[in-house]
Every structure is written in C-alpha cells, then in structure tokens.
Amino acid sequence: MLSEKETHEIEKELKQYKTRQAAGVEALKIIQRSRGWVDDEGIKDLSAILGMTPDELDGVATFYNLIFRKPVGAHVILICDTVSCWVMGYEKILSHLKNRLGIGLGETSPDGLFTLLPIPCLGACDKAPAMMIDEELYWNLTPEKIDELIKRYGWKG
C-alpha cells in the first residue's frame, strides 16, 4: 500500500500534468524517495492510480537509468565513466572505490551503506573525474578525496 505521504505527494504531481500517465516518472521518484527503490508492490499500486497496467508502468520504470527496481544502499554513488572523466583518471578512481568498499559496479556494500553505479557524463568535464553521492556532485577526485568523502557518509571500514 502507498503511504499517506506518498499518496499525498503523488496527487499533488497529478495536478501538474495533463494526463495521469505523464506524472508517472515523477510518481516513481516519489516512491523511490521514500523506500529507497521501487518495489513490485509500488508498481502495482501506482499503476492503478495512473490508469496503466503494472507491466506498462514497469516498462517505463525499467527504461530510465535512475529508477531503481532493486534495493540500493543508504547512499548511491554515481560515478561518471564517460570520455572526459575516463581520460582524466576514471579507472584509478574506480579501482580505489572498489578496493575500499569491496564491491564492483552495480553492487551494494555488505553493510548496506553504499551502492556503486556508473553514470553517463555528469557535465563536470572541466573538473574531471567526477561523481555524485546521492544529490551532491563531487569533482577533481583523487584517492585521498574519495577516502574523505566516504568517511563523511559514514564509512567505518
């Protein structure tokens, strides 16, 4: 079941769009904000509100990179793996992160703190390499800066 808060926020969004379906992406984000990801039940309940079949809505949800249909950690690291960042040392940054967290791309650390995902160009090409943690952008990354950042987000390892 959708929570009261979720329902309230979704109804507010429905008013912003011309059709119910058009509010779908925003509504999926609302569910994701409250649950961390979009579970099957969320798809089922939301599809009824939007006047779509669950499969139709799942087709939309799985299309977009930033709608998570699997559980993620408390914080999501989006590391830019596109050309400018790659040239400026993406591989070094990635292997440092992998070593520290003990996980690869697409995985969540055993303590549930971080999920590590690749992301296309973050538009920080002049400050490469770059990544986001949740909603914050970090740039000119070095291994030292990464250590400091993950500590700030609660890493104890």
Binding site: V25, N65, L66, I119, C125, L137
Partner: protein
C-alpha cells in the same frame, strides 16, 4: 574584447543572477518589446539573425518555428520545450547557462512562445543537474510573481504556463521526439518523422523543441536586432557560441566567443594549451557523436558550415582533447560502450550492433583481438549508418568509430598483432 551577451553579466562568484540583477542589466526588456510585436515579426527577426540550433544539428531557429500552424484555426494548446537533457559526452554548457542565468533562458522561452503562440512551456532537465534544477525552479517562481509568466503577461493579453520537468536519466531522452514520449510518461523511444513535432508533437499538438542555449540567445536578438547579432560572429552563422574544452589541457572550461573562433584559439588562447608532458593527439569537436579531428585541423573555424568541410560536425561545440598518453582504442571502446548502454533498443541494428561493436573493441583493447575484427567494425560502420536505423543515435555512434578506423589503422593492427595494449 568582443561582446559576450550571454555570459557578460553573470556573477563571478558562481551564484545565479537574481531576478533583480537580471532586470538591472536589461533583463525582460526584450520581452516587453516582443509583447508589442506580431508573432510572425519575431520569427522573421530570429530567422534573419541566422541563429542556428545549439543542440547540435544547427537548424535555423526562426525557420524551424515557421512550420508551426498559426492563428485562430491552429490546434491548441501549442507547446514549447527547452531541451536541457544535456547527456552528450563532454558537453556541459547548458548546465552553466541555467545555473548562472536561469532568467535568460526563461525570458528566451517566453519570447519564443510568443513567436509561435504557445500556451504551455516545459524545461526538460536531466535529474543529475540538481543545482540547475533548484535555480530554474526558483526563477520560474519569480517570473510568475512578476507576471512574466501566467495569465495576461504584463497586461498584454498573452498567457503562458511554464513547468520544470526533471527526467530520470537516459541519453535518448535528448532526441526531440523521444523527449516528447518521455514527457508523456512513456518509454522514451523516438517517433517517426514526419509528422514533425511542429505539426504533431506533444499529445499530438504543435510543439517546438529547442536547445537551452538556443533559447538563451533569443532575448539579445530581439533587443539588439538581427544585424547586431550577425555582427558578433566571425562566420555566416549568427552570434556567439559557448565553446568548451576538457581533457589534458591546462585550463579546461567554457568560454563565450564569436561564432567561428578557430580550434587553435580555443585550445591555446583559452584553455592554455596542453598540460606539461602531454601532447595533443586528436580532438572530439562537439560531443561523442562527432568525427575526430587532428592537429592539422587546428585552424578550422568552429561553426556549423566549416567543420563539415573537414569531415566532422561542430555538434555541441564542447571539445574533448585526447592526448598522446591515452590509448585511442580505449577511447573508442569508452565511447561505444556509452552508446550501447544508452541505445533505446527500439530498432535491431542499433540494439544488437552497438553491444557487438563494444565487445570487439574491448577484446582488441585487452589484447584479444583477432584477424577480421577491423573488417567487422567497418561493416558496422556501414550497417548502422545514416538511413539504416530509426534515429540518429546509431549513426552518431558510428561517427567516432568510422573516423577512428581511418586514423588509427596502425594502432588497431598493433594491438591485434602484439596481443596487448601498448599504452598499458
């Protein structure tokens, strides 16, 4: 120093211009002027200014608008959309324009909406641009509070609604017909053209999609005129251009320069040249989907007509410099991996071909290339080329590959024969 209408009033501290600051530097004067002009006259001025679309294709903006049905018999509502999806690799100009001067974009959109008699406008922004989202939303609210948006704008009788739509990430959403599907809450798969969006766009209504930088030019053109605008340029295209450069240069960044500035001036004059210990090997002129240029092309002017003369495109005008310490096969692998991952999967050559190309490049890079691989890549360069796929993503993906096969023949062969990457 030449004029820089889009950026000269921006704050040096990185904060956005407030509505008051924007107004103090002439902001919303162009709108006041445009509200007194017939829509067709606005279209005509923009057409004559030779403002060409900054999303990459360089279509004349005023001309694009002229296909929209006008007058009382036109289907309603009509829509206007700013494309700020900006996921083209190496491109970061729209982000800066929105973060530092959101009102310039909004004013440009309102004037453009006037020109096509649009009723509803959207800014289509990628999710990752969090700061731009916050600033654009604030600016929209301020514009409503000052009656630059909403009903009966400044008593003119013209009304316009504006919404910020934040996407959930996928490169194909930037393709203008896929963007329409994304806004309707569908999978963002491109639509067949014709009908063009100007006739049958969002929810089947007339719709204009322009890039965020394109709209940011419009207030200046209306305020100062088409001739002034053309005079800013060093080429036949009008205006200035937000150029950018990244890679191993001393001072990567963005600069507003006269349209038609040469690559050498951007590299040496603005980006400070290459970093110590690195040499320029080649450049990607305007995003991942443009063919490579080399040191022999440094004097080419960056504009929509000059770059095609040497076999590439200006694209988004944000250059990525590749140095001699970086493996060109690795760069190609990186670019094609991006395209393969972001392909929408709708048509077979792209959905099946791009992962194939990527895996061949990966094998070659890792020293596991085989005889016949180069030919297989070249075959894809043909079978995913213009006219063979449903949209321009796949041919765009083939542009760097085709030029890479020509430029780096010996590097390809060396990887395959020596079974290793000489750069590692």
């Amino acid at each position: 120093m030449s004029e820089r209408p889009l950026t000269q009033n921006m704050r040096p501290d990185g904060e956005a211009l407030t509505i008051k600051e924007y107004e103090r530097t002439g902001g919303y004067q162009a709108l006041r002027k445009a509200l007194k002009m017939p829509p067709k006259e606005i279209q005509e001025i923009v057409k004559n200014s030779n403002l060409r679309g900054r999303g990459g294709a360089g279509f004349n903006t005023g001309m694009k608008w002229s296909f929209v049905p006008m007058g009382n018999d036109a289907p309603r509502p009509k829509y206007l959309i700013a494309n700020a999806d900006e996921m083209e690799p190496g491109t970061f100009k729209d982000k800066m324009l929105i973060e530092l001067n959101p009102h310039q974009l909004i004013e440009g959109m309102i004037i453009s909406a006037l020109a096509i008699e649009a009723d509803i406008a959207y800014i289509f922004l990628r999710w990752e641009y969090r700061l731009a989202a916050a600033r654009a939303q604030k600016a929209i609210t301020e514009a409503y509070e000052n009656n630059y948006l909403g009903k009966n704008i400044l008593g003119s009788g013209f009304s316009l609604e504006m919404h910020l739509h934040i996407s959930a990430g996928r490169y194909i959403c930037g393709e203008e017909t896929a963007l329409l599907n994304a806004l309707e809450g569908r999978r963002a798969i491109p639509r067949a053209k014709p009908p063009y969006p100007q006739i049958c766009g969002l929810w089947g209504k007339p719709t204009v999609v322009n890039n965020a930088e394109t709209f940011s030019n419009v207030p200046h053109i209306i305020l100062r005129g088409a001739d002034w605008y053309k005079g800013l340029s060093r080429s036949t295209d009008g205006g200035t251009k937000i150029y950018g450069m990244s890679g191993r240069v001393k001072k990567p960044g963005l600069w507003e320069l006269p349209m038609g500035t040469s690559i050498r001036e951007i590299l040496e004059g603005n980006a400070g040249g290459m970093q110590e210990g690195y040499e320029l090997c080649y450049l990607i002129p305007g995003g991942a989907s443009t063919e490579f240029l080399t040191a022999e092309h440094l004097d080419v002017k960056m504009d929509f007509d000059s770059v095609p003369k040497v076999g590439s495109r200006m694209g988004t005008g944000t250059l990525v410099v590749i140095d001699d310490k970086t493996c060109p096969i690795g760069v190609l692998h990186n670019l094609e991996k991006f395209f393969a991952r972001e392909s929408c999967g709708w048509c077979t050559p792209c959905r099946e071909g791009l992962p194939w190309v990527t895996s061949i490049l990966e094998a070659i890079e890792n020293g596991q290339g085989q005889a016949g691989d180069i030919e297989m890549l070249a075959t894809h360069g043909e079978s995913l080329w213009l006219g063979r796929t449903f949209c321009a993503l796949a041919p765009g993906a083939m542009e760097p590959l085709r030029s890479g096969l020509k430029l780096f023949k010996s590097e390809f062969e060396q990887h395959i024969i020596e079974k290793r990457c000489p750069w590692r």
